[in-house]
């Protein structure tokens, strides 16, 4: 099932017998109340997973899901109903449930005519998807990773590797008559290893992926790099000393540490929180929220990236949104409802986990543009501090702006040099303030390798982050060594 061969509109028509006239009747039913906007979201998802543990390919799985979600928006109210049976009767019932949030109307709604196509990007025109690669081959790759990781160091006691691949076919039809569709491939290869030297036990992880073909992992032996990086991290951490505690200068390495932006800035700039005035960034457009070295963008249009989309889950083409320009707050991430209520343009950030969820403003790929310093110069300027190169998860309290992200590989900086590895520690800061402390920005922007997942209000969506090396003059490091 290559992308080119799947025509979503024809696919849904032949699979579920849906047609323009059915869409028009369902939307018409929803509009019998005083609604501003109605959309139908059709989804068909095919996902396969294979995983290895203790040198055995233990699990294979295959999950097929499909369904339709009907959303009715009236002012700031949302009615949502979905069904995993894609039939006219179920859609009509869903429309009746969803329209309950809208007021009665005296007049008759105008008839909706659907079929006006939305021009989308073409960011992942794949010749083939990983789902087409025989499962034996995917299993063989995991066994190779297991072998390479174990051979890399005799202290590796276990290797867990997994390969997940999916293809989502989506179609969005709305009360403005638009019809948007997309075929969205996504895959991810993860490696986690356990190292044990008799005294200490440690864990190391690495992985990557995106909206890519299987050969992405084979080219340049990326898979081998994942295994080697996971091993390197676990082995380094075996000798890690206690992390320092307190406020200090922190240098973040390129790539994954961009999770800082995702937590500190990105969530706080999502349109829903700002419309409601519940974000620490509310009402601050045009104000200085970062040092002038900082320009931060959210870009859903980068080819083959995990966070990219040809069209968001409301049928709006994704875009590149400048969030912070040379330190000044410029824009919010918007879905259609919040854009309409805030009288701002929709930015193509309306996303949802599946047909079982209503869309909301979400990030795509969020990163800082590069500056001029070399990473070596940046580290050299620090007398005493922390150099953090890899992170696990993070979280933010939107309302007070406090955010955390947890380092999984970090080193002390002593006299301008990265020296001893330290144990994982959580860093905590204040979103509207942390980027004002950015004193240097590197010329080495990297995007993460493609494994990020963001959770908000119970919905998970794939995202990307990126960062050049940066120096932050003062953030609290939550180690144990006070």
């Amino acid at each position: 099932m290559t992308n080119e061969l799947v025509h979503p509109e024809k696919f849904f028509a032949s699979r579920f017998g849906v047609s323009d006239s059915i869409f028009e009747r369902v939307i018409g039913s929803a509009l019998e109340r005083r609604a501003d906007y109605v959309d139908l979201y059709f989804e068909y998802r095919n996902a396969e997973g294979v995983s290895l543990d203790e040198s055995i390919v233990k699990h294979t799985s295959k999950n097929i899901s499909h369904g339709v979600g009907v959303r009715v928006c009236a002012e700031d109210r949302t009615g949502y109903a979905y069904s995993d049976e894609v039939t006219f009767d179920r859609m009509r019932l869903a429309a009746e449930a969803a329209r309950a949030i809208a007021d009665q109307r005296g007049d008759r709604p105008n008839a909706v005519q659907v079929g006006q196509p939305v021009k989308t990007h073409a960011l992942y025109e794949l010749q083939s998807t990983p789902l087409e690669v025989p499962l034996e081959e995917r299993a063989r790759l995991l066994r190779e990773i297991d072998r390479v990781a174990r051979e890399a160091d005799s202290r590796i006691t276990n290797v867990m590797a997994s390969f997940a691949a999916e293809q989502k076919i989506v179609m969005i039809v709305n009360s403005e008559g638009q019809l948007a569709a997309d075929v969205q491939p996504l895959c991810r290869l993860n490696v986690t290893v356990i190292a044990d030297d008799g005294k200490n036990r440690q864990v190391g992880s690495y992985g990557g992926g995106g909206r890519v073909e299987y050969r992405h992992f084979i080219e340049g032996e990326r898979w081998r790099e994942y295994a080697v990086q996971a091993v390197r991290q676990a082995i380094i951490n075996l000798d890690a000393i206690d992390a320092p505690a307190g406020e200090m200068v922190v240098v973040l390495g390129p790539g994954w540490p961009g999770i800082l932006l995702h937590e500190a800035i990105g969530h706080g700039l999502e349109g829903d929180f700002n419309r409601k005035g519940t974000s620490a960034f509310a009402g601050r457009i045009g104000q200085s929220v970062a040092s002038e070295l900082c320009t931060v963008v959210d870009d859903g249009t980068i080819a083959n990236r995990r966070g990219s989309l040809n069209v968001d889950d409301e049928g709006t083409p994704t875009s590149r949104t400048v969030l912070i320009e040379k330190g000044i707050l410029r824009g919010y991430l918007q879905d259609r409802m919040n854009a309409r209520l805030m009288k701002m343009p929709a930015t193509g950030n309306g996303r949802r986990e599946s047909f079982a969820h209503a869309p909301m403003p979400r990030m795509t790929n969020t990163f800082m543009l590069p500056g001029e310093s070399t990473p070596e110069e940046i580290i050299k300027t620090v007398g005493k501090g922390l150099y953090a190169v890899s992170f696990g998860g993070g979280q933010v309290d939107i309302t007070n702006g406090k955010f955390v992200f947890s380092a999984s590989e970090a080193y002390l900086i002593e006299d301008g040099r990265a020296t001893r590895p330290v144990k994982g520690a959580t860093l905590i800061g204040n979103g509207p303030d942390v980027l004002t402390r950015v004193a240097m920005v590197g010329n080495d922007l990297e995007l993460d390798p493609g494994v990020g997942t963001c959770g908000k209000d119970g919905q998970s969506v794939p995202v990307g982050v990126g960062l050049p090396t940066i120096r932050i003059d003062g953030i609290t490091v939550g180690g144990t060594s006070a």
Partner: protein
């Protein structure tokens, strides 16, 4: 809800056998729910859900595969089952895999009173009214409550049917009701959110919406004016919900998959003292109307009540039959299952047995330290026990709660933290499936300015 019954389950199992499977399981879950949300007194959202899914796990000898689908027609199910059996043939045999020991399946299922059939789904108007009441009480509590992320009332009704090829078949239903409120307090240009909730399997057992609203508002207001403290080592008192998160972290390390993989700081610790001797932690899947109670687990084995930690000693791990075979132990009825995935292990109703101190006595024992009311982040490493999370709370001076603190972290190692639980409160309340009373840890590193 979609039509699915034991006859169709048997048909699926038979199809798997004819396709060449030596053993198989089928799991069918269905659910219907209504989520209602209000914000600042007005309707914000209504979401109505209806879903049913079928999952199977098939074995060809000791190789297995799992799959799930939303297509429940026999015509669609047949190729689905055949594909899954084909998938299993591609998987490597694992000598420890397989269905559980058939003699362990329950003959009779205990009635656990998990369904509130008198109420079922709460209709939109009533659900919105409850949420409105709760939010209104929060907004009226203090003039500094100026905004809100809203209040939500959800109700749901669920059904599970599970059967395997060695003759076990069982089904049960359940209901759940929950109300949550998130008001925002504002003062001097800074905002703080409070959150409080109530949840139950029975509608009438929920706390009053007004009291949920008031507590959520209190929790928001008391955070106003939060500041950083200097970095130091000091005692840390965890309020009940935060203490529960520590219990969850410990149990993650006591769960079969982490153990056989060597990915836990509790490897080889069975029978050893792992916490201070005042600690007893119980996992009980059989509590009447418990939020995590069920008559059988994800493999069809009976759920059980057992002390995981008793007077400080690690008494048992939590195991499904795969992990039990790997570790040469017996399964504990803790297999959990989501459709389309292989079984894994999770706790059921889990609690830290209450002690004798009131929360005031515990706070009163601290000369200088932290009372933790919120934790954020994922800084818990099950492999090493290293713990470092973002925190906010109230600073304790001379046994009294004083000013709010924020933008700090608390750090330590779970091994040391559990060995230094100095006091345990008497204030255990079942408000979620993992609960604990207030606890005091004698010393942690608090990082701030």
């Amino acid at each position: 809800m979609a039509i699915f019954d034991t006859a169709l389950a048997q048909w699926v199992l038979d199809r798997a056998k004819s396709a060449g499977a030596s053993a198989a399981e089928v799991l069918f879950v269905s659910g219907e729910s209504l989520e209602a949300g209000v914000r600042l007194g007005e309707v914000e959202k209504l979401k109505s859900s209806r879903e049913s899914r079928l999952g199977i796990r098939v074995f060809v000898g000791q190789a297995s595969a799992t799959a799930s689908t939303a297509e429940l027609e026999r015509g669609e199910l047949e190729p689905f089952v055949n594909d899954t059996v084909r998938l299993a043939r591609l998987t490597a045999p694992d000598p420890f895999s397989g269905l559980p020991d058939a003699s362990l399946h329950p003959r009779h299922l205990t009635e656990l009173e998990l369904t509130d059939s008198a109420h079922g789904i709460i209709a939109a108007e009533q659900a919105l009214e409850i949420a409105r009441k709760a939010e209104k009480a929060a907004m009226a509590f203090d003039p500094r409550i100026k905004n809100s992320e809203g209040a939500g009332f959800d109700s749901g009704i669920y059904g599970i049917l599970f059967a395997n090829s060695q003759g076990f078949s069982g089904q049960y239903g359940s209901t759940s009701y929950s109300l949550g409120v998130a008001p925002i307090a504002e003062s001097d240009g800074a905002m703080q959110q409070g959150y409080w909730y109530t949840t139950s399997r029975f509608f009438d057992r929920l706390e009053h919406p007004e009291s949920v609203g008031v507590i959520s508002a209190e929790r928001a207001v008391r955070r106003l004016g939060g500041r950083k403290v200097k970095t130091l080592r000091a005692p840390v008192v965890f309020e009940p919900d935060r203490a529960a998160s520590l219990i969850r972290a410990l149990i993650g390390a006591a769960s079969g998959p982490s153990l056989y993989r060597g990915a836990s700081f509790l490897v080889d610790r069975l029978g050893s003292q792992i916490t201070s001797s005042n600690v007893t932690i119980v996992d009980d899947g059989t509590i009447r109307s418990g939020l995590a109670s069920k008559p059988f687990d994800g493999e069809g084995l009976p759920t059980t009540r057992k002390a995981v930690v008793e007077a400080g000693v690690l008494k048992t791990y939590l195991l499904d039959s795969y992990c039990a075979r790997k570790l040469k132990l017996s399964p504990t009825g803790n297999a959990s299952r989501s459709v389309g995935e292989s079984p894994t292990v999770s706790s059921s109703n889990l609690f830290l047995e209450p002690g004798t101190y009131t929360p005031e006595q515990i706070i009163g024992s601290v000369k200088e330290g932290l009372y933790v009311t919120e934790l954020i982040g994922f800084g818990v490493n099950t492999v090493t026990g290293d713990y470092s999370r973002g925190a906010s709370g109230i600073w304790i001076e001379n046994g009294e709660l004083t000013y709010p603190v924020q933008e700090i972290t608390i750090a330590g190692n779970l091994k040391d933290m559990f060995m230094s639980i100095e006091m345990i409160g008497s204030d255990l309340v079942w408000r979620s499936s993992t609960v604990a009373p207030t606890i005091k840890i004698s010393e942690m590193t608090i990082a701030g300015a």
